[in-house]
């Protein structure tokens, strides 16, 4: 018994330290002083320069993926984030082999209990309900917990009359939870219907990549849909489409620019302009985004 207590004590101490505070800045996992190769232009980028440039390649503007902590840090006012529903954890309802291990690996590498981080925060004084999908956690896939947390965040925004901003980055519904993952598409979309009916503002930000069941549910239901520069956005995966139609896909297929051209998103924004753009958009929705006095 005392053994268990001894084990729990340091955890409790860590928890008390972390509770209520913003998620610590968790840089891309690279040792100091290393050069990184850009995935797009293959230039060598000094790691520090990349971080200073918000993980955007200074040579070709390629936007590296951000984890949830970095995204929150980028968007919210300092120390304004308080997390909700961090105590929801995935089970393995279909007893799918290797699912538990995959969850454990993602938990360890991201430091989060699931792929969706959500709560309340402020952006230049505007209080908002914010959610971020972390593509480093099982490709940001939506299973029961992610679906539940998104739904609760929407309900929270309804209760608190807050504007809602969700940053998506996901391969789609989580395969390991089968049909239960599919049902999360309805659950999240249904919650947005209620939010819509009471006049809530939902800004959906699509980041790289937003595909499958996430693209085909809540993420496409924003009053305003913002795509981050260069993000891959679409329903079906390129490989599946290629196999089905037996043709090569056109250049730039399913990029943010493609979706803008085809009328599927309101605007495409570079990461550097993202926060300012969101503030700009929030300002047009005055009464619900009334800035709090700091």
């Amino acid at each position: 018994m005392s053994d268990i207590f001894a084990k729990q004590k340091p955890k409790l101490r860590t928890f008390l330290k972390v509770a209520g505070k913003p998620i610590p800045k968790n840089q891309i996992d690279i040792p100091d002083g290393l050069f990184i190769e850009c995935e797009q232009c293959h230039s060598a980028i000094y790691q520090k320069a990349l971080v200073e440039n918000l993980s955007v390649c200074p040579h070709c503007q390629f936007h590296f993926r951000l984890n949830a902590g970095d995204r929150i840090q980028l968007i919210l006012d300092e120390n304004s984030f308080s997390e909700n529903n961090a105590n929801l954890k995935s089970k393995n309802p279909l007893s799918m082999p290797e699912y538990d291990q995959k969850l454990a690996i993602s938990k360890k590498s991201t430091g989060h209990s699931e792929a969706f981080i959500s709560g309340r925060g402020s952006i230049q004084g505007f209080p908002i309900a914010i959610g971020v999908l972390d593509s480093f956690f099982m490709m940001g896939s939506m299973g029961s917990v992610v679906g539940e947390k998104i739904t609760r965040l929407i309900e929270f925004a309804s209760q608190e009359h807050l504007p809602l901003i969700i940053f998506s980055a996901s391969g789609g519904a989580r395969m390991q939870e089968g049909i239960l993952s599919l049902m999360q598409m309805v659950k999240t979309s249904a919650a947005l219907k209620k939010f819509d009916q009471i006049g809530g503002l939902f800004i959906s930000v699509l980041t790289h990549p937003t595909t499958g069941g996430v693209a085909a549910s809540y993420a496409s239901l924003g009053d305003i849909i913002v795509a981050e520069h260069g993000a891959l956005i679409g329903f079906a995966g390129a490989r599946v489409i290629k196999q089905t139609i037996q043709q090569d896909l056109p250049e730039g297929f399913q990029t943010a620019a493609f979706q803008l051209k085809h009328g599927q998103v309101d605007l495409v924004v570079e990461r550097k302009q993202l926060k300012q753009t969101l503030i700009h958009l929030l300002r047009f929705h005055g009464q619900k985004g009334e800035p709090s006095r700091e």
């Binding site: 954890k89 049909i179 599919l182 819509d196 679409g234 329903f235």
Partner: protein
Amino acid sequence: MNNIEEKVWEKVRLARHPKRPTASFLIKQLFPDFIELHGDRQFGDDTSLIGGLATFMGQSITVIAQEKGSTTDEKIARNFGMPHPEGYRKALRLMKQAEKFHRPIVFIIDTPGAYPGIGAEERGQAQAIAFNLFEMIAIQTPMIGIVLSEGGSGGALAIGVTDTLLMLENSVYSIISPEGFASILFKDSTKAKAAAALMKLTADDLLSFGIIDAIVPEAKGGFHEDIQFSLSQLRILLQKYLKQLFKLTPENLLKNREKKFRAFGVFEESKSEKNHGK
């Protein structure tokens, strides 16, 4: 190869059986005065998703169905039952029409999935599906669905947010095809049999999750072995569940639908950590 794998795969095989009746046949049998209404009023008329008006239990209803086609020519003409965005938009148009004229809606779900193609992406396949989910939760008329052979992922779900859902005994409803699942999880699409056994995609599985309300029995050897048997069972179940839905006030109809879909998901919620955001 174990027993469960064989049992589940037999269902997948029967669901895909070349002699299995498709939606048009079901419509002819169940709703002989069906008249088809075409088009989404925006882009075109999707041949894989059909809709129209009919009479059932002495009253007008709207029927919306995915049609796969039976012969090779028909299958090609019907795009193998894989709708484009205009199909889903036509479906929504007809749902809104049904709501306006207080007609209940019967859906026949039968698709391998929404079509993955260039045009489908250009015209917003993701948006079309998402918007149907968003709208269906609030459609103020009773809606009942039947999964006929395959309920393929978001492509099925986009007409699947119904008050009551029935599944034919040898139909499957899943997040992805067993082949797709095997290629993602095992990196080998030939392991579809093993995948199907893990996926919990049978009518029994979905009944146990509360996702469907009842199973329509089939003859030994599948639907095509005794079509009239399953049809008469289906008629009885449709009548029974429609009657139940008719008894509800419009408010309770929507409340029950919302409650049903709000509850889906299995997870753990530890009480030990404080929910400091609230």
